[in-house]
Amino acid sequence: MTTVPVPSAALTVGRQGNYAGAISRLAAFAADVGASWGLYTLGVALLNAALKLVSGHSFTLSNHQLPAFIVLTLWEFLYFTYQWAVSGKTLGMAILGLQVVTRQGAPISGRQAVFRTVGLGLTLLTAGIGFVGIVYQRERRALNDFIAGTAVVYDWDARAARLRWIARKEGPPGTPPPQEHRV
């Protein structure tokens, strides 16, 4: 049993479907950058090993900067577009319990996924200014959301999470219940 405090209901129950905020989205993006970079590095290592096995020569992609940049860009495009098109969420978003939806709240199309990925690249080029809308826009939409006609919402089953917390609160016999947590 754990001693993790129970968050207030305001932070959990009823948040499903609400617009997601800056920190959750930033954390999800960081997780995605880590995951995509890790997979890219693994892929390059496997490719090197395969080429060495076949030709006997070692091939290092990082020694060829332009091809490496093109491959990495294509890989990142594929990583984000494919996941958004299939489920509306990337690996990082799944961890943080977020989902990309249309402005009305419906699942996004493949076309929107492509626009959103291209928009993400453009938003990154604005050195962060394109993300300001997540805090200051009424639908918490960044530049890439405007380009693709999308929004990001909380998707995790917060009600079930709260029940799990309350269930854990019982703890082992003799354990005092943890206090409510407020941020």
């Binding site: 049993m1 948040r15 617009y19 905020g21 800056a22 709260r162 269930a167 854990r168 941020v183």
Partner: protein
């Protein structure tokens, strides 16, 4: 009919007289005024209801009732459709239910893993920080109160009542 012809005629005469006179008498009687004169309360007081009930064999009546036939007539589907299950569920205090019953430990045992626990914590902390950044970010530019009127989520995902008008 009487075998005596005179008797038979008298009988016919009496019958025809009765057919004419009886309706006249009945019309002449004011039934409402008679009923008004009857003291119903007094009659009821005189009736010994307990004695009547004692005479009734309830067991026999119950035995005669074909319960299966009554159940067969009931349209359960229609009854179920009429019940507003959402309203009933909304009235249940799930938190106290989980706290007071063994349901809590069942949920904990069946769904709690280290990963789930970590995810729950990360997500809840994230939501709290999101609120904090939104609140203070807008307060800094003097829009702290305005954000209260912002929609909670997209119209298809958030019930209209929780979407505040801007």
């Amino acid at each position: 009919m009487s075998p005596n012809p005179i008797g038979s005629r008298v009988e016919q005469l009496a019958q025809s007289l009765a057919e004419h006179i009886v309706p006249m008498i009945v019309d002449a009687i004011d039934i409402d005024s008679i009923i008004d004169k009857v003291d119903v309360e007094k009659i009821i007081e005189r009736v010994d209801v307990d004695k009547i009930v004692e005479r009734v064999d309830v067991d026999e009546i119950v035995e005669r009732v074909d319960v299966q036939k009554i159940i067969a007539r009931v349209d359960i589907q229609q009854i179920v459709e009429r019940i507003d299950i959402n309203a009933i569920v909304n009235q249940i205090d799930i938190d106290s239910l989980v706290e007071q019953t063994e349901l809590g430990s069942i949920i904990a045992r069946s769904t709690t893993g280290i990963l789930t626990e970590v995810l729950d914590v990360i997500r809840a902390q994230g939501v709290g920080l999101d609120d904090f950044i939104l609140r203070w970010g807008n307060r800094l530019i003097g829009r702290g109160k305005k954000i209260r009127s912002w929609p909670k989520g997209p119209p298809l995902l958030v019930a209209p009542k929780t979407v505040a008008s801007s």
